[in-house]
């Protein structure tokens, strides 16, 4: 297993992609080790905002040692990050979490489903999976600010759903699956809880596996504080209760294993 470490990273480039959505490439040794679906903890430089912000890995350039995060400004920490320019030093911790099981996609028809700020991890994942039979990428947005859609088109058939109907299917990613008459043997998903619940139900009805990436408020990010747990169907092997740590045992779970 890769070694987690806290280190100084350097901002390579930052661009705004949509209202409140920023795209930052950083230079870090974590880039080489990170798997699709893992995340990093990013620290603020504001001593009154101490806890690290967990942000998913969007893409890596292993040769150049660069890692890309695409995040939404949600509070003081992410607002601070959004102002960083090239050359800025930031503290990061990672790689954290388990990541998606890539080997499960072999020879299968795959859905990659991303909703809102759950879209970024789908990029590194769709890029990494090359032995699937088909790759349908379903993206849910609020409106026509389609961040990362162009990047994802390189790695599969992109289908878009927007809440306001401005692009693609009006509604959710579930509506887009139906409207396009798509089918899959396995699903990888990240997005808001209502979307993940719908994916879990969809997968259950069709008896196919769905791997979903969860989010929760975290403190340590390394499995010590027990802040970020999810209810599990079975007793968890580590906690010995029906709780698993999202930061360590997750963030990716087989949907049927978790009570969401």
């Amino acid at each position: 297993m890769e070694q987690k470490k806290k280190e100084k990273a350097v901002v390579y480039r930052q661009t705004q992609r949509a209202t409140g959505v920023f795209d930052m490439w950083i230079e870090t040794s974590i880039a080489k080790q990170a798997h699709p679906g893992q995340f990093i903890s990013v620290y603020t430089q504001n001593q009154s905002a101490l806890l690290p912000r967990p942000i998913s890995v969007c893409e890596t350039d292993k040769e150049k040692g660069r890692l890309r995060i695409v995040y939404r400004v949600a509070g003081t920490g992410t607002k601070e990050f959004s102002a960083y320019k090239s050359g800025h030093q930031i503290d990061v911790l990672g790689p954290l979490g388990n990541g998606f099981p890539l080997e499960e996609a072999k020879g299968k028809r795959v859905f990659f489903v991303g909703g809102g700020i759950g879209i970024p991890p789908m990029l590194e994942l769709a890029k990494a999976i090359s032995d699937a039979v088909s790759k349908d990428i379903l993206l849910g947005y609020r409106n026509n600010e389609l961040f990362l859609a162009e990047d994802l088109k390189k790695y599969g058939n992109v289908h878009i759903a927007t809440e306001d109907g401005s692009v693609g299917t009006k509604g959710t990613v579930m509506d887009a699956i139906a409207a396009n008459g798509l089918n899959a043997d396995i699903i990888f998903a990240c997005g808001p809880m209502p979307m993940l619940r719908a994916i879990k139900q969809y997968a259950k009805e069709r008896d196919i596996p769905a791997y979903i990436s969860l989010e929760e408020r975290m403190a340590c990010g390394v499995g010590a504080c027990l802040g970020c747990v999810v209810k599990t169907k079975e007793i968890d092997h580590h906690s010995h209760v029906n709780n698993a740590r999202i930061c360590t045992d997750g963030p990716v779970y087989l949907a049927e294993r978790v009570e969401i």
């Binding site: 070694q3 987690k4 470490k5 806290k6 620290y43 001593q47 009154s48 905002a49 101490l50 806890l51 690290p52 911790l93 929760e216 408020r217 975290m218 403190a219 340590c220 990010g221 390394v222 499995g223 010590a224 504080c225 027990l226 802040g227 970020c228 747990v229 999810v230 580590h238 906690s239 010995h240 209760v241 029906n242 709780n243 360590t248």
Partner: protein, 301 residues
Amino acid sequence: MINTKVNIAGVELKNPVMTASGTFGSGMEYAEFVDLNKLGAVVTKGVANVPWEGNPTPRVCETYGGMLNAIGLQNPGIDVFIRRDIPFLKQFDTKIIVNVCGRSAADYVEVVEKLSDQPVDLLEINVSCPNVKHGGIAFGQDPKCLSEITKEIKAKAKQPIIMKLSPNVTDITEMAKAAEEAGSDAVSLINTLTGMKIDIHKRTFVLANKTGGLSGPAIKPVAVRMVYQVANAVKIPIIGMGGIANAEDAVEFLLAGATGVAVGAMNFVNPYATVEVVDGIAEYMKTYGIEDLTEIIGSVK
């Protein structure tokens, strides 16, 4: 040659630096970042007689200069703990302090008895968790109750006991005196301060438990003041904690009267914090020509 050794209830620690219960698991997660052999002691997450599920999420949130938590003492129960966590910690040259929690006197006693033949150096008794109904807080906010539970546990414990005190009281020295009179071998303070955060956009509590325990640098001045007060009220050793981020913070607690110091929430911010405090204390001693660390304990009167 400097001497950083301290003695707590007959147990000699190579240095005064330990981990605050609940912020370090049983050391497994942080062993990836720090050499546990360098720590004076590892204080484990609270363990009860049976597994506890803890509270619903969200269980943690950030606050100005600190954080709130309401984990609810999730733990795997003493049997798993003895099978898994103690053997893990035994691999390291550090003292083992097990934090014990319970909902009743019988719960505490059951855990303490199961630990009696274990290679554990000290027991820290959590009678002050603010996040669990009947999670001991009732024992920790009334001197009579604290005295009774201390006596019951002391009667059964094979290792020296440390009563962990709550700051959510009018006068913490009364609690410390009650613990000392009832036979506690040491006290640790402070546990978290009860707090609350409201999400003004959702118009609801941020934590599912509504209230949580405040920790981090925001509470340090309160903790230093309480350690100082308790040091002037009792003779038993004190383990001081509350917002320690670096060696300077730790030295403040030592000067105020703490024999041991624990790093808590700041482990989450800086996973190397514990070892940096160990190294920083040695630097401080060299800078000021202090040969024996015990010279400075409680030296600010």
